[in-house]
Amino acid sequence: MKPSIAVTGLGIVAPGGIGVKAAWERLLSGVPTAARDPELEGMPVDFSCRIDDDAIAARLGRGLRWRTDRFIQFAVIAAREAVDDAGLYPEEWDGDRVGVVIGVGGSAMAHPGEYTKLMEGRFGAMTPSLVARSQPGMAAGEVSIDLGARGPLLTTSTNCTSGASGIAMAKLLLDSGACDIVVVGGAESARNTWGSAAFWRMGALSTRCDDPAAASRPFDADRDGFVLSEGAGVLVLEREEHARARRARVYARLAGQALSGDAHHCVAPEPGGAGAVRAMRAAIADAGLTPADIDHVNAHGTSTTLNDIAEHLALRAVFGTPPPVTANKGVFGHAIAGGSAMEAAFSVLSLHQRVVPPTANLRRQDPEIDLDVVAGEPRCAALRSVLSNSVGFGGHNTALVFTAP
């Protein structure tokens, strides 16, 4: 018998909303965060969903910025918020029983200056922090140091699903008894010059430079690609027995998880979404539920032509008539690992607050997409279970099922 896993804390660092309250209110408002990005001036795609630098500096405090890249800073800030939200005190907890899992899709992208020094042979001028600031495993490492969490320490890197797959792995750690608490999520900053050029060149980005706010439009007929973003989402997961013993507030249960692979194409989804279908079905079964029990789907919804069609077909295959769907990327763009982690946190908030946030920019739903996509206004609904779906390049699929406590 697997233990029941409780979600007891949330932390979010998102464009237009640092902290769970600000990010959730921004999401419910349906107002997109995409805007021209000064760092991307003169590039083919010169807009993104960007987090304010000063706000990050103010939250982080002194002394960590010189040796950490933005994705690490987001992870540390979101983890502190989640732990505080859970009513946990790192100075009091048994740190050996607290794990940290942070998903990171890619990193080491934000250093054109260091690569220039390398090309010029100016080796002594290269920052010695380059390894410590840019390797994917450093987000979990810095969170562990910051919190004094000495249990299992793990990084998941499954492209766009890295945050969600981290949450899935955290559940396995708790199921196995390896620890009592896991601080888990995903963090990414992909809206740098490298990311913008590289994703544009492969044809994945929206090029709606004349109207950035309207660029990320999941499931809309006029969508033309995704919008680069950044941020982090962190959940505190613990064995429910542990949470109840300390009288913690339980937002939701993480009832089921599953991963699958497409084995189809390097960056295109399997056209019918077969990999996503397998992950969703397995996660629902892992939760001991049937598709009819799922009241809401927080979709991956990237706003690319291929993803949204394939995800639609996957949802039809799993559910027949799927429950109400939303896509958070309309407001926040695509924050890669940070996105799938934030979307898990928002799924938990939907359950807890009994409301489905609207999908921004859905003006004219793609006639090929037969889904009940929540748009315009938040929709109130007594939700008992929510599925968060994530897919990624390489044929990575992760599905998570959260249920009301």
Binding site: G63, R65, W66, G124, A125, M126, P128, S129, A132
Partner: protein, 92 residues
């Protein structure tokens, strides 16, 4: 007498780059007290090379966690004077 512009430069690095409280940057403080470990010390030397053109050896004897800022700045300044002299000599 330690090179005054270089001392001012190093003090500014500690305040601005490493975000150390200005009041903590005192001559008698040790690098350890300011949480300047070997990685951070290497960062100081890399910045001097990158932005100031002062090329120093990767490590400097006598410079460690228990060194005070006054002694550390003197060691860096002496090494800088030596390498700058070599550079000047090579140029001739």
């Amino acid at each position: 007498m330690t090179d005054q512009p270089l001392v001012a430069r190093l003090e500014a690095l500690l305040r601005d780059h490493f975000e150390i409280a200005p009041e903590a940057v005192r001559p008698d403080a040790t690098f350890r007290e300011l949480e300047i470990d070997s990685l951070a010390m290497a960062e100081i030397l890399a910045i001097l090379e990158d932005e100031d053109g002062i090329v120093l050896p990767p490590t400097l004897p006598g410079l460690g966690g228990d060194t005070t800022l006054a002694d550390g700045f003197r060691i860096i300044a002496e090494a800088a004077a030596e390498t700058q002299g070599e550079t000047a000599g090579a140029a001739r």
